[in-house]
């Protein structure tokens, strides 16, 4: 009986330590960047360790994309992600982009072309780094 109690106790302690470590790592290594986008083509260059990354686009109107999906962009966004001349992603009018960085020796270039037909909202480029 004693053996079971000590084993269960060990499992509980290990679980608590794991959760605690995860929270500590998350709060000490979580970076997030939000950059305003302007009209025309712009390049965001990134030097990243190999991992899977996600980019999202938002507006100053908060949840605008979700509330008004048919009005996502009065502006048009073309996104092209390149690493060492290899296209990792290419798409038009997307809200989220996921891409994998395999070769960490080469910087990743993200070309964003914003074509504003009207100017109802400011567009932002958002990216998270670290232990998410």
């Amino acid at each position: 009986m004693k053996k079971y109690i000590s084993l269960i106790f060990f499992i509980l302690i290990a679980a608590v330590v794991m959760v605690g470590t995860k929270v500590a790592i998350r709060t000490s290594t979580m970076y997030c960047v939000s950059l305003p986008l302007s009209n025309g083509e712009q390049e965001v260059k990134l030097v990243l360790p190999a991992d899977n990354y996600n980019i999202s686009f938002s507006t100053n109107l908060g949840n605008f994309f979700i509330r008004y999906p048919d009005r996502i962009y009065k502006s048009y966004i073309n996104v092209k992600i390149k690493q060492n001349d290899k296209i990792l992603f290419s798409g038009k009018n997307i809200q989220n982009v996921s891409f994998d960085v395999v070769e960490e020796t080469y910087p990743v270039s993200i070309y964003i072309n914003v074509e504003k037909i009207e100017a109802p909202e400011n567009l932002f480029f958002n990216m998270n780094f670290g232990a998410w």
Binding site: Y4, L35, S38, Q42, V44, G130
Partner: protein, 140 residues
């Protein structure tokens, strides 16, 4: 009865073993993540632009370079043909750093293990054609 005990023993030991393994793998992964460095370079345009960061506590250095030269210039009298004003504020609107016409901004995100939203306000007043690049190295 003895058989059930044995099975319970094995199950518990397997769970404990998995947890221990997951914990060790987590620690190894954490060490590699903590030492990671991310670099973000962004072309600045004319006018005022507000960049937003969420950063854990630590010391940071953001820089501005001339893309044409791809070099930071340390000429304090005329670092760029453009005039630059950089202001770093935290989420409580406290000014962490404020500079004029410098190529490097160093600031500290206070706290022990908190994440703060940091606003970088950059004013670019062009008088030339050069491209200015804002570079943020994200590493504690």
């Amino acid at each position: 009865m003895v058989k059930i005990r044995k099975i319970t023993d094995i199950v518990l030991f397997v769970i404990a073993g998995f947890l221990l393994l997951a914990f060790l793998l987590g620690i190894i992964n954490a060490i590699s993540i903590v030492h990671r460095e991310y670099v973000v370079s962004y072309h600045l345009v004319e006018g005022n632009q507000k960049l937003k960061f969420w950063l854990p506590s630590g010391n940071y250095e953001f820089g501005i370079s001339n893309d044409a030269l791809n070099l930071k210039t340390y000429d304090s009298e005329k670092p760029y043909q453009s005039k630059l004003h950089i202001e770093v504020r935290d989420n409580e609107d406290r000014i962490l750093c404020q500079t004029n016409n410098t190529s490097i901004v160093a600031f500290n995100v206070p706290g022990w293990s908190s994440i703060r939203s940091i606003f970088v306000n950059i004013d670019v007043e062009y008088s030339g054609d050069e491209l200015l690049v804002f570079t943020a190295k994200l590493k504690k």
